[in-house]
Symmetry: C2
Subunit: 802 residues, 2 copies
């Protein structure tokens, strides 16, 4: 199994293992200290009640195993001079990760007040799970982390995201047996089918079976080695087992196994990189570590089994203040690590142990890969004007908006081919979403067998497709967090699958904004297409525009929502989003052939404003207020609004209509709520202080109310949007069912504008009749009436004077 | 491998197989017909353009495989007289499922206008993916389905949910290789660790590897048999392979394999049921079917490979109207099934084929298990008064609300132990969420090894814990859809993991409400606890109250949101939810010791109203309007509101305060929007027409605005809620960071009530000072100031006159 080119594993030095055991004890000591102490960090005096925190919070169970892995990775890094980052899946491994970063000096470099001495150690202990301090899991605050340990499921997919296009990096990823029960993690193992040994790095999964969750055994922990082996061989890995509880034996086994794993990784890479042929999928190694939960902690507390059981999960000795016996037990537990043997008088790690940590940026806590903004290079962006749709007159051109975007992304891929820092993710829908222009210059990446008749499939593709929104999202997060760029295109309804991942990424970004040492990373960009109004054929299960509601709950400086009404606006927004950082940009746009409204010049102006009056579409005179504002956000609502304007102008030529289109939804919020928000004055100059506003909106209408409820004219804003009335029907019928179609909008105007008289009443009756005619026609013919489907904007650019 | 007690597999009758092949052809014919035709269903005339639908929608690729499985299951059902239901995972298998239900007569029984003759066949074809018709996937409209095929990932978890406590049922579950890539599906295979062969039924997974998704090969489809076998052996199954494309060979192989699988199932069950010992986890069989995508369809279209490739995924011949060549190709494809050999002159299936379908409720399409409301028995509910907390005076008792609920659920479990129709799901958090009263009478179910030191773990438990919200949700959905009852308790923040599953279940319920033949099923009940205000210790990653925002987007007749402020109200709400049907009830309640406000009598009245004035808490005189309304929803907001009232009454004794508590959030909506909505008159009688309302709400404040924006007094409603300001701190500090604490609420009252003068200004300054003092104290001591933590309501029941 050993690589001929490396022989680090030939001998394992027992002296070094003994030092490593002491280093491990130091990390364990610091971990217990963080959970329990607020004073007396070195136990220079007998432990007193007041040394102990009043609220005991934190998680011990997983920590000694994490520390064990850490010291063994350190050995390999030094022996082989490799770049490794450590992804800590187990949710509450915070004390261990923080302890190690402090031991190798990074913590004090970043947070100088937590210095490398007794006082620093005291602060390190005190701040853990303490008000004003740090969370109990690996978090943005933790040096070396790109992975928040709170919600479980995403460690391995983040690891793969980090490894793509990072040929010299090894991502060590610890997966707890609790987390291994989650769906996203169970699917993540298959990421090896997308990792190319030539130009990607390696992921070394370390499945840590300590047997228990909060209050239960784990599924994988209770499976036999045979079944576990079979499972991971089936997933395509070579599992290497390390099992036991005797520290000395375990150190020897782990060191040998780590060497074996790194030898395998290097030989796989060397072979693939030396060969001229496209690489085959390798069988990558993984480590399966069975060690006791709460290893080296108290065996029993109050007569109940703790070590190697779920009672070790959180705080093994639950009450210490006020309980002399527990205080003694805690002290003897901490002294069992022999702190005098580990730290000098000043509280500093003794030199022979300090020497075990790698130096500089080889320290996992100081790796620039784990602070991706440091490595981030701006994308080289093509000129989006090159992709502009020629719109000589509003509605005078037809285009598929996402196809134009796909061509733009094709050029993004070409321009950055050498940098290898852009990927496009999607759940098997890149072509379905009309982004297939990208396949002119790249393929879908695929490490399984490729058949001669396969299409745009290769080991080299920059497009990643897998039928799992979780994997798409997680890979992209890992890729961005390590300093690269990307886009995730998804069916609008099914983006809810990753609601919770979105939440966690938004939280990560919010926290990093207060950590100046974390450099900004590229924004996470979503294209939501195949949207609710054009899922008439797939039906109700595919119709849900609610993701943006979730997004709007997040901090204003993190999120943006864009509804470009046509291809040129979509191009501008795409270009813009790719230039931003530390944000989550959501773009909602259709893929179907649709009328185009704005020239590229107009699109630029409109998008920069975020919201604007479309003079050419309304007919208000220069010298008077309009009678009604017809507002719209989203491509189908815009189309229906303009068709309603046409109906109204023909029926009621004296009615003065203003058309407002909203691209950037956050412009509707007050300016003190969102940086893109309009001032009240600007809002009123667009939406009027007191005229009825008939607002056709892409999603659930409540969002518009929620964004505008503080505006003076809010009482007159009437929103038409998705009312959860979905079915299998035609595109226009979807609009009718939810009352955002041209007829309902025109009727709403007649109902809301006072004093329109008998002509209007008659027009309203005609519109109602049209709706009935439509329903009959659609049910008979299975498609929309030609007069609907073929409607075009008849007024050209000079609507106001037409 | 064969069971001695059954010998159905001894011989496979070639004549029968030949008939089955014809039955399969009939199903395939009907499937193609649904995708393409609106007339000429039996091809009695040469096919004309006008026979073909104008929009071709639907999915062929998966369908012939689904039909193949269907006919083979029919054989087994007849041969063995077993109860089987068919869960169709592949998203777009609609045409096949519908075809089979029509062939066995169920479709026409339920929808008599789609009769068993040529005219019925024409309607069957026409309605598919047609306006006013049916969706392209198995849906609520499809007889025999409990599983919507739109969003992928949940087929297998639904199958297990259906099998629990259904000892005589076999749930055949087809998993497509596309769906198999999703996270939830990848985790679902481990459900076998929770299935007890004695009192549960069996799940027969049929992994259908047809190799392709929309535009890509599949991961599992391209894996070798060796790796696939290893994977599923690792998951704990015995995989039985059926592979090929020659129909006759495949029929023989499939029939033999089906027999083998059913033999294994019966022998596992017989052995376990005969034994007195607790059963060990069996190695259940599964079938791995490799067959061509688009099997029996066109091999090539326009020179491009279609059969056995992803081009067969949707409509293999994409344009037929107007393309003579394509029309001919379609006709010859359809005639290749030889319709004259399958259907008589009237369009009815010929008798020798009709005889192949099972009869009556043995037909999978007519199984009562797939229309669970038919089998549903009401729960036997204990008297919740038995669990009431004795509240002699408001705030005079302290209790953990969810603990009281746990004791109530314990009694629910006991009373229904014999019916075996209630389960409690949770991601390893039942005890953490203080529901551990249930462990007095039951255990966690667990089919892996059980150690002597394990706690409340047995093969017989009614509590299901797994670290996967997806599995908890999916099992419960499957359990409810087959006529049983349950509760899902979850950390509030992590329920977002199943946002999309919630969406799909809500859609299912909405559609079934318009299908009178579907009998109502029990509601899906959530308890969201360990909520945002008490995740101070776990930090920001665990803090998210936004699930209810998603829920509020759904149709009013499907969803309910409850925020009981204490234990007695929680008991009433729990009892109420368990009596409802066809709904999704979300209850948000805390688990920490907290003051109790209402006696059980008061709780009943309050919960029945949904919202009410707490006379004892305010101090408004009988004969005048209050100066301010202090409203609250949620346990922590209620506590902080009452503490703010206390502060204000002491500082400003003349200020007239009304306290309003909201239990049922939907009461805030207008009555035309939600059945629980208050009339405007009632709303004003509670919230006043014009006084300031300071509303402390549990979640994101926007939801309250969205629910109340149509109310006349909306402009005066000022909501304090979660502002996305989370961190690791103390409970009270969480409230302070988000400004829903007593001091901020009291300050808000002073700011909003006009004319309070200098005394109020001074009080405001004192409250500000208190906030600073709090922050200093918390950062020094790591816990809340005693005066905050120990505050109790000082006025008793006679606040108004105190």
């Amino acid at each position: 199994m050993q690589s001929a080119t490396e022989n680090a594993s030939a001998t394992i030095d027992e002296t070094e293992l003994a030092l490593m055991d002491r280093y491990w004890r130091a990390a364990n000591y610091l971990s217990v200290g963080q959970i329990y102490l607020m004073g007396n960090p070195l136990l220079k005096q007998p432990l007193q009640f007041e040394d102990v925190k009043p609220r005991l919070l934190g998680h011990w169970g997983t920590t000694p195993g994490l520390n064990f892995i850490y010291v063994h990775l350190n050995r390999v890094i030094r022996a082989r001079d490799v770049d490794v980052i450590y992804i800590c899946g187990p949710g509450h491994g915070g004390p261990g990760m923080v302890a190690n970063t402090w031991l190798e000096g990074t913590y004090s470099e970043i947070y100088p007040n937590v210095s490398e001495d007794a006082e620093g150690m005291r602060k390190l202990f005190r701040q853990f799970s303490f008000p004003g301090g740090i969370p109990s899991h690996a978090a943005p605050e933790t040096p070396g982390s790109i992975h928040e340990g709170g919600e479980l499921g995403y460690a391995l997919v983040h690891a793969y995201g980090a490894a793509f296009d990072n040929p010299d990096l090894v991502v060590a990823c610890v997966v707890g047996d609790g987390e291994a029960e989650t769906g996203p993690l169970a699917a993540s193992w298959h990421s090896n089918k997308f990792l190319n040994p030539v130009h990607d790095g390696a992921v070394l999964p370390i499945l840590h079976l300590n047997g228990y969750k909060i209050a239960n055994p784990t599924i994988l922990g209770r499976m036999s080695d045979e079944e576990v082996r079979s499972l991971f061989v089936g997933y395509g890995y070579e599992p290497l087992f390390v099992e036991g509880s005797d520290p000395a034996t375990m150190h020897r086994a782990m060191a040998a196994t780590m060497d074996q794993a790194f030898d395998r990784i290097r030989s796989i890479q060397a072979e693939a990189r030396a060969s001229q042929a496209a690489p085959a999928r390798p069988c990558w190694p993984m480590i399966i570590l069975r060690s006791p939960k709460g290893w080296t902690g108290p065996k029993e507390v109050d007569g109940k089994m703790v070590e190697n059981f779920w009672r070790a999960h959180q705080v093994p000795i639950p009450t210490v203040r006020g309980n002399e016996g527990h205080l003694k037990l805690l002290e003897s537990w901490m002294r069992s690590y022999d702190p005098e043997d580990l730290f000098d008088e000043t509280g500093r790690l003794v030199p022979e142990l300090r020497a075990l940590a790698p130096a500089g940026t080889k320290r996992m806590s100081a790796s620039p890969h784990a602070n991706g903004g440091v490595l981030k290079r701006d994308l080289r962006l093509p000129d989006y004007h090159d992709h502009a749709i020629d719109v000589t007159t509003p509605g005078g051109a037809t285009a598929e908006a996402t196809r134009a975007m796909g061509n733009f992304l094709r050029d993004v891929i070409s321009l950055n081919a050498e940098q290898r820092n852009f990927r496009l993710m999607g759940p098997d829908e890149t072509a379905s979403n009309r982004l297939d222009g990208v396949f002119d210059v790249t393929d879908r990446v695929w490490m399984e067998r490729i058949e001669p008749y396969d299409v745009h499939l290769s080991t080299e593709g920059r497009v990643m497709e897998v039928l799992s929104e979780h994997l798409c999202q997680g890979w992209l997060e890992g890729y961005l967090l390590t300093g690269r760029h990307g886009f995730f295109s998804c069916y609008e309804a099914f983006i809810h699958i990753v609601d919770s991942m979105f939440n966690q990424h938004a939280k990560w970004l919010k926290v990093t904004r207060d950590l100046p040492w974390r450099r900004p990373i590229a924004s996470l960009n979503y294209l939501l297409t195949s949207h609710v109004w054009r899922q008439d054929h797939n039906g109700f299960s595919h119709q849900d525009p609610g993701f943006v509601d979730l997004v709007a709950n997040k901090k204003a400086d993190v999120v943006r929502l864009y509804f470009p009404p046509d291809a040129n606006t979509l191009l501008w927004v795409t270009d813009h989003c790719l230039k931003t950082y530390n944000r989550i940009n959501v773009i909602v746009a259709g893929k179907q052939p649709a009328p185009q409204w704005l020239t590229m010049d107009e699109a630029e102006t409109h998008c920069e404003e975020g919201v604007g009056i479309w003079d050419w579409a309304g007919n208000e005179p220069d010298d008077a207020e309009p009678d009604v504002v017809m507002a719209c956000a989203g491509d189908v609502p815009t189309l229906e609004t303009l068709a309603a304007v046409d109906l109204l102008r023909k029926a009621l030529p004296d009615l003065k209509i203003r058309v407002v289109n909203v691209v950037d939804l956050m412009a509707l919020q007050p300016e003190d709520r969102h940086p893109h928000g309009l001032s009240d004055r600007d809002f009123e100059s667009i939406f009027t202080p007191d005229k009825p506003v008939i607002f056709a909106y892409h999603g659930y209408p409540y969002l518009i109310h929620r964004l505008t409820y503080r505006r003076a004219n809010h009482v007159n804003i009437h929103v038409h949007g998705f009312q959860e009335e979905g079915t299998t029907t035609t595109p226009f019928d979807m609009a009718v069912l939810n009352e955002i179609d041209r007829f309902h909008l025109a009727i709403a105007v007649i109902d809301r504008v006072p004093g329109l008289g008998a002509v209007a009443a008659k027009a309203k009756q005609r519109f109602r009749d049209k709706l009935l005619e439509h329903r009959r026609y659609v049910r008979e013919h299975g498609e929309d009436m030609p007069e609907i489907a073929d409607w075009t904007w008849p007024y050209g650019r000079g609507a106001a004077t037409a």
